[in-house]
């Protein structure tokens, strides 16, 4: 180790850190201040539209872990299979969005909300009843530009957006 610059390099480094005393911190206080996630965010839940779903099972085949279990009636009812049970094991699901892309009838969506953590593993099991779209369980714009346009704009750190108080 040679001190060939007599500590000037260290002094320059010190000026950089001291200048940060005057800058605004970057952190947001999560529960109080919230950042808007991206309009295409893949939240930790799936939302299923019973009306449009024809029970074709493409989403179950598209899932590479087999997290979607669907059982339908055997014969066509006004050219739709009547879906008896439709479950998604969000414990297995890695939220890659392949099922949403595969659904030919736009009946499956990713959720916009990211606070669906549960205390027990059993509650991770989503079944038909609690998968419909409700005001508090919003739909993310992943793969559906139309829906994305309605969601709030993403808050970017690039425009120094720290989220509202």
């Amino acid at each position: 180790m040679k001190f060939e610059r007599y500590g000037l390099g260290i002094a320059k480094g010190l000026t950089v850190t001291i200048r940060h005393l005057l800058r605004r911190p970057v952190t947001t206080q999560y529960p109080e201040q919230r950042l808007n996630p991206s309009r295409r965010t893949r939240g930790n839940e799936l939302i299923w539209d019973e009306a449009k779903c024809t029970g074709c099972g493409t989403c179950a085949k598209a899932c590479h872990i087999g997290a979607i279990h669907i059982s339908t009636s055997t014969d066509l009812v006004n050219n739709k299979y009547e879906v008896k049970s439709y479950e998604v094991d969000t414990g297995y699901c890695i939220f890659c969005g392949l099922c949403v892309e595969a659904c030919p009838f736009e009946a499956l969506f990713m959720s916009y909300d990211y606070e669906r953590a549960q205390y027990r593993r059993g509650d991770l099991f989503q079944s038909k009843e609690n998968m419909a779209e409700t005001p508090e369980r919003k739909v993310s714009g992943y793969f559906y530009p139309g829906r994305a346009a309605k969601l709030p704009k993403q808050s970017l750190l690039v425009d120094n957006d720290r989220g509202k108080r």
Partner: protein, 362 residues
């Protein structure tokens, strides 16, 4: 502002004086420990573009209290094959000397526990006892990392004791007395101006003794995980934490008293000046901690023996020459002279000396 001097045994007899000042010192250390912990975490955070603790109490002021409670309630694990007695005794041996140093530091006027006329010698002697405590911790934990950490602590303290002592001797020459009270009294011009090189050497050496960045090799997080206090938890770990901050407080107090003119200063009351200067020195320690990477063990030793030690000797020589040859010249003349000499010496030394080679043929 006239120097208010308190009579030596201020509230009457000796024992009353001793009792009052012991309470003052212990209270001062604990309160400043809480203040420093909070101050360091906030200053560190803001300099790293984040907020730091602001949840416990207003502006996070109760965070140190919360930490203290947590540490009190945590389970106190003793390693199975470790040496139980030494493991239990180590934190005490590490913390008590840090507290003893404050006996001779004048908070204001005559306000100090014991006006020893060998103040500096007392400080230097006491401050090296903490190393024994840290080595006891390293040895008793029966853990490879902590043994390595403790060995490094001994190596660094042994090699930094000499430059630190020599740079303070320069100040003693100027003040003419070892007692801290006289040193403060003699500082019409703060000794940092008269002894710039001495201040620099003392500050770097002191950083190494309390193993703060850039010399925090004892609990180097990247390679030794947490050095000697790996096997400590609960209040024992809390005591080590307290010892570290008490030592940082002690070093700031010594630097203030010896180099920055202790409690002397215009306008503000004396004790407030003392606190402000201690705060400034501690901010510089925290500021250095946020920026500078860690030195390697052989570079640390090389820096002490090849860089600080010769410079301390030269500084001592120059101060002695100045005092003996030109005693009547006013000290203001020496301020620019000493600063120039300091710069020349540093530039000269850093040109010639290569510190630490690194690779060993194995």
């Amino acid at each position: 502002m006239a120097m208010q001097w308190l009579p030596p045994d201020w509230p009457g007899n000796f024992w009353a004086h001793w009792a009052v000042f012991t309470v003052i010192i212990v209270a001062f250390i604990l309160v400043m420990f809480l203040a420093f912990t909070w101050f360091e975490r906030r200053a560190l955070a803001i300099m790293q573009a984040r907020l730091g603790p602001n949840r416990a109490g207003p502006f996070g002021l109760l965070q140190p209290v919360a930490d203290g409670l947590k540490v009190l309630l945590k389970e106190d694990i003793v390693p199975a094959k470790g040496d139980k007695l030494v493991h239990w005794l180590a934190p005490v041996v590490a913390f008590v000397p840090a507290m003893l140093i404050f006996a001779v530091i004048p908070f204001q006027g005559g306000a100090l526990l014991a006006d020893l006329n060998i103040g500096i010698l007392y400080i230097v002697a006491i401050s090296s006892v903490t190393t024994v405590g840290i080595f006891m911790a390293g040895w008793a934990s029966n853990n490879k990392y902590s043994t390595l950490g403790a060995m490094r602590q001994i190596a660094s303290v042994v090699s930094y004791e000499i430059p630190v002592v020599l740079s303070v001797v320069g100040v003693v020459l100027l003040a003419g007395s070892l007692s801290l009270q006289q040193i403060v009294a003699a500082q019409d011009i703060p000794f940092i101006l008269l002894q710039p090189l001495g201040f620099l050497l003392f500050f770097i050496g002191a950083l190494a003794e309390i193993n703060r960045t850039p010399f925090d090799l004892t609990e180097a997080d990247s390679e030794l995980v947490a050095g000697f206090n790996i096997e400590y938890s609960g209040i024992k770990w809390g005591l080590f934490f307290l010892a570290e901050y008490a030592e940082a407080l002690a070093i700031s107090a010594i630097v203030t008293t010896v180099f920055l003119g202790g409690w002397r200063g215009p306008l503000l009351p004396d004790w407030l000046w003392f606190l402000v200067k201690v705060g400034i020195i501690f901010f510089v320690i925290v500021w250095i901690r946020t920026t500078i990477p860690r030195v390697r063990i052989d570079q640390l030793m090389a820096l002490a023996w090849k860089f600080l030690f010769p410079l301390a000797l030269l500084n001592l020589l120059i101060t002695a020459v100045e005092i003996l040859v030109w005693p009547e010249v006013s000290l203001w003349v020496f301020v620019p002279v000493n600063i120039a000499i300091a710069i020349v010496l540093i530039v000269l030394w850093s040109k010639f000396f290569k510190l630490g080679w690194g690779k060993v043929e194995v």
